[in-house]
């Protein structure tokens, strides 16, 4: 399954490194990354493949949210389908 990870919050050093480390530890492959600063807010969207993840989707979701909590960011992961359904015909 492909999923979208979004990271939104105040910019700081090492956001990408920490998120990527968490994903790689759990064998989640990153397919694409897009990152910008919008009105002082760090905004990153990643397309990832969770097919070979060593933990369940629910656990991964919680791990990312917890990491976000630690870093003062909002991190979430959602099945790519919801965005495709809404924005692509």
């Amino acid at each position: 399954m492909r999923a979208i990870v979004t990271v939104v919050g105040r910019d700081r050093v090492g956001i990408i490194a920490e998120v990527c480390t968490l994903l790689s530890k759990n064998n989640v492959n990153i397919l694409d990354i897009n990152q910008t600063i919008l009105q002082e807010f760090f905004t990153m969207t990643m397309l990832v493949d969770v097919s070979n993840s060593v933990i369940s989707f629910a656990e991964l979701k919680e791990a990312l949210a917890a990491k976000g909590g630690e870093m003062g960011l909002k991190i979430r992961i959602q099945n790519e389908d919801i965005f495709e359904a809404m924005h692509r015909i």
């Binding site: 939104v8 979430r76 919801i82 359904a85 692509r88």
Partner: protein, 452 residues
Amino acid sequence: MVNSKEILETLEMIDQQHLDIRTITMGISLRDCAHPDANKCCDKIYDKITRCAEKLVQTGEDIERELGIPIVNKRISVTPMAMAAESCETEDFVPFAKTMDRAAKEVGVNFIGGFSALVHKGFTSGDRRLIAAIPQALTETERVCSSVNVATTKAGINMDAVALMGRTIKTAAEMTKDSGGMACAKLVVFANAVEDNPFMAGAFHGVGEPECVINVGVSGPGVVHHALTKVKGESFDVVADTIKKTAFRITRMGQLVAQEASARLGVPFGIVDLSLAPTPAIGDSVADILEEMGLSTVGSHGTTAALALLNDAVKKGGVMASSHVGGLSGAFIPVSEDAGMIAAVKAGALTLEKLEAMTCVCSVGLDMIAVPGDTSAETISAIIADESAIGVVNNKTTAVRIIPAPGMVVGDTVDFGGLLGTAPVMPVNAGDPTLLIARGGRIPAPLHSLRN
């Protein structure tokens, strides 16, 4: 890959504009549960509901987690109980409601619809016993919803049923007077009821429906409102187009959830109901959309036109996004569940008469309206008759969910809590329709019902 802007736009809809899936409703046929022994019938009903819906809530939560979209309600609708229980040798239909309630609690759904009867042309013995049980059934259960269809475009209006429902609503209010007449908030009187409506309190599993089915109701008044704030001052051509595009996106999401739920539960997908259903939360209001179109307050002149456009554009946008559209599909205007409507009623800008006019152009009808406790059964019947006439003549669904709040007068407020919200008590016309209601019989179907 969808781009970041689109991803963030979706997240903003969910986080700030209250975008959600309002309900996944599983329709379950109870036609194979009939038995002469009422206890055995109840057992069969309980077993069937809990068997079919065992994984409904869990599956809904799994989809919610995976897609990151809230699915607010997981619900069940069943075959109108007047049919399922008709063969039982018992006068008392209350135990069937209690069985539904028990099954709902067991599987964890917050409402179960279908304590219902379809009497638009007349009553069977099961219909009579069911309607007689409604006040007590809704008083002694928590999650059961009831509906009675009293009119159709094909059959006309059953005025005996209209009179009976006025009295039933009064009794139901009286029996739940400690909670502001709560039983009435779970009771809908329909004209042209639909068989696949996933929304409560009017959901039931129609006789033409399959054994088990998944219907999904989408929502999103906040998203439509937000989209319209970006086209201030533009013509109605632009307004209609903006609503259509927004409705399309919302519905695509509903379709996705419906397909996922259907596949995971192994139950056929029925329909997506394209409705704008408000909640009491600020920013989740249909009234806000109408005011964004240029009204100072909902209820003022121009409201009906604005609502007509909204209702039509929602359908046009949504219909392309789903393989099967059904249910009520349109804008809901439940007063107690919409912060903007509540404010307009309190300010004296929105009256019962204007709401009646609005029901001519939107889905459903007079919904979650509180009226003074001393409103007579005949006046309530007359309100039902008027709404039924609008539905029958205009070939659309209309409904009345009205609460004659015991002991309350105009200016008071009834608080039902949760999704049912807060209803300001509205004045009713003081004229007396007693003689009209006493006539009984049937109002014949209109000429345009003869379409063959």
